[in-house]
Symmetry: C2
Subunit: 222 residues, 2 copies
DNA sequence: CAGAAAATATGCCAACTGGGTAATATCATT
DNA sequence: AATGATATTACCCAGTTGGCATATTTTCTG
């Protein structure tokens, strides 16, 4: 068995809900210890600057900084704390925003206390968990990612030089050769040379395809 | 308690491992029943055409069709069955490929039988679960997605007409106006008119930005 | 140090692009 | 019948792009 208790923060604007968690969670698993709870994300962020928790249960509908922004801010401060979104919201936007903000799990509030306790334990070990009712959103996302996948690139590097990478990035940003030249403080001709090399290395014929291809690639692989 | 047993297929080329699962899983949770196991993905796919399981434990390193392709094929046949990747591989590529192939969970083989039983139950209910050691890969992916997020678009539609959408798609495919004209059997001038309208509606100044923006958008939202 | 790779730069040219303006045709809605 | 949205085509123009050939300087690497 575990010897260390899992230290939990709760961010939730309803007092009643906070009390419920304090009551039910340790009952389901004595290793779970709610050490602090907060009405607002701001309060939690402040507390985190003193002392971190292992796991944070985060509501989304909060006064002031909402749960998504709060998650983002906390994740920026601390990349180890595990953040579980615990909410009744289940819209695609909120789920995706939460995940991109750095949440480790997304649970709906009608989850049973036993399940929540299990999820907390699992997430505390580092797992990533999504409620059944919102898992499809992530799966859809992965499906859409797949359509962007460039098969013939698998395992390839393009061997772009540092300079070429800079230029490519600016192409993706929609800059013209002249703008790129100005920003890199080199001549317009040099930019053209770089662009030509990029097109050749990416095996495309124009900058649009270069931009599209590089977006697709950087999305899927490092 | 549950009244129905969870019916499980196992796809794994090592007999010893299959035997281990048959032994340990029901011991940890009597609701788990391994009804069939297979040495190859092909065998499992064939069996699925007769009768589906609730959950499939899928190895990745299989002879013939590998686990990723197998997952993809099974997912195409049946969108309800829950597929848990159970492997010792932990490379980014394999994790992402598995998820985009339609896996519902990704576990590493040294998972304890108790945890595996818990994951199977959770996933059977529809949850999405990733092993702690590979969760970071998904989180990284979400982070990268975030950088593609276009905030000022939230909730906006661009009101592109059907024709403009066709053109935009071809822009993203890297086609020139002339190629687009040829493919749509309209004049080069008409394409220019459409492109002009697209640029205005997307509030961008050139086709590269139009392509990039539309990729970013379709990725994040529907 | 020698050779290779990368970054820098120039010139020319044909093709492509985007802005502006204008006109006609079609279709659904009012 | 009139209106508005969409689709279509044409023309001009300035600016951009990509291909090609070439060349110098810098940086890296063995």
């Amino acid at each position: 068995m575990e010897n260390k208790k899992i230290r939990i923060y709760v961010v939730e604007d309803y007092m009643l809900t906070r009390i419920t968690y304090r009551h039910t969670l340790p009952k389901n698993n004595p290793n779970l210890e709610i050490i602090k709870d907060f009405e607002t994300a701001e309060a939690c962020i402040n507390a985190m600057q003193q002392e971190s928790a292992d796991v944070i249960l985060m509501d989304l509908g909060l006064p002031g900084i909402n749960g998504i922004e709060g998650t983002h801010k906390i994740r920026q401060m601390n990349k180890d704390v595990k953040i579980i979104i615990l909410t009744s919201h289940d819209s695609d936007d909120e789920v995706l925003a939460s995940l991109t903000a750095g949440a480790n799990a997304y649970a709906l509030k009608d989850i049973t206390p036993e399940n929540l306790a299990a999820v907390i334990e699992s997430v505390n070990k580092g797992a990533f968990w999504l409620d059944p009712r919102i898992a499809r959103i992530a799966l859809n996302l992965f499906q859409r990612l797949k359509s962007l996948h460039v098969d013939d690139m698998y395992g390839e590097k393009f061997n772009l030089t540092a300079r070429e990478n800079e230029v490519l990035q600016m192409i993706v940003d929609g800059k013209s050769n002249t703008e790129i030249a100005k920003q890199m403080i080199i001549s317009h001709n040099t930019v053209k040379a770089h662009v030509g090399n990029i097109l050749e290395k990416l095996a495309v014929t124009d900058r649009v395809q270069a931009a599209v291809k590089s977006i697709k690639m950087t999305l899927i692989r490092n």
